[in-house]
Amino acid sequence: MSYLGYVVAAYGVFFVVLLWDFVAPRIDIARQLRAAKLRAARTTAARPAPDATLSRTESE
């Protein structure tokens, strides 16, 4: 008997799990780097310009 179906199913499981194992850390790394970039952008946007308060005071 060839048991082809069982062999295909077993190798299918093997490849699917290894594919997940390959993809999961890549997605995680990309997510961490994207979060770091967004956090840096937010910090830069929230930080006032060094002379902003002074110039506003002068114009008033």
């Binding site: 069982y6 077993a10 194992d21 850390p25 790394i29 961490q32 994207r34 770091a36 970039k37």
Partner: protein
């Protein structure tokens, strides 16, 4: 200082480790895939079918290396955890926790492929046999370690708690290994020996050894990639991570 010692100290630096992992993980994957390609080709097309089991015995070429990896990775995880607990080395915490999902993946492969092989050979998908049951407990231990690590907000405390569970859980490994010797088991006894005489025909062994090497190389690649991701998570907000993220976005 000896270059090897210096390199070991440098590896403890998060940015250095990130560069190291980013550089070597793809090589480990590529080498692993090349060896695996040979192993799978030989397993599926080169070796003759077993005279009793027919082609179903070809499942062992993924089942046995995965089973060995499931135990090897747990042992390594416990080793890293012990170092992390004693010497408080952050990189060892990261490596230990990166081992858990890979080990769980190989345990899932072991259980699933064993079950698929068992149906035509034993006539059942599952039996509460000592080897199968202890391997299932190993999967639960892996899941427990992953869960415990992620359940605690402080990453270092989480790694220490999960590492302790890994060290305690390592006692299961000899039980899995010798379960077929200690108890009457449906699972067959040891037929393959790396150093001694195997009960398998020599013509069937080369693809198996290739798959054993391939899964080890794959593990190295995956370990580096997962450790890199965890390292980035722990270092989020540090200048070097922000710089790298911005360079990558350009």
């Amino acid at each position: 200082m000896h270059p090897l010692v210096r390199w070991f100290h440098q590896l403890g630096s998060p940015p250095y480790f990130d560069r190291f992992a980013a550089r070597w993980a793809p090589w480990a994957y590529v080498l692993g895939l090349l060896v695996m390609a040979y192993g799978l080709w030989a397993a599926l097309f080169q070796v003759p079918a077993d005279y009793q089991q027919g082609d179903s015995f070809r499942i062992l070429y993924i089942h046995v290396p995965s089973a060995w990896m499931s135990m090897f990775i747990f042992g390594l995880m416990a080793f890293y955890s012990a170092i992390a607990l004693v010497w408080r080395i952050k990189l060892c915490e990261i490596l230990a926790m990166a081992c858990a999902p890979i080990g769980a993946a190989f345990t899932v492969i072991t259980l699933a492929t064993g079950s698929i092989w068992g149906k035509p050979m034993w006539g059942t998908w599952w039996d509460w046999d000592p080897r199968l049951t202890t391997e299932l407990i190993l999967l639960f231990l892996y899941l427990g370690i992953i869960g415990l690590y992620h359940a605690i907000d402080d990453r270092r405390q989480g790694a220490r708690a999960a590492g302790l569970l890994a060290i305690v859980g390592v006692a299961l490994l000899p039980v899995i290994r010798y379960s077929v010797v200690w108890w009457n088991s449906l699972h067959q006894g040891q037929t393959i020996s790396v150093f001694g005489q195997s009960q398998m025909d020599a013509s069937m062994l080369p693809p198996l050894f290739a798959m054993i090497v391939a899964t080890k190389l794959w593990f190295v690649g995956s370990l580096l990639a997962r450790a890199r991701a965890d390292n980035l998570r722990r270092e989020a907000g540090k200048d070097w991570v922000v710089r790298m993220a911005q360079e990558r976005a350009r």
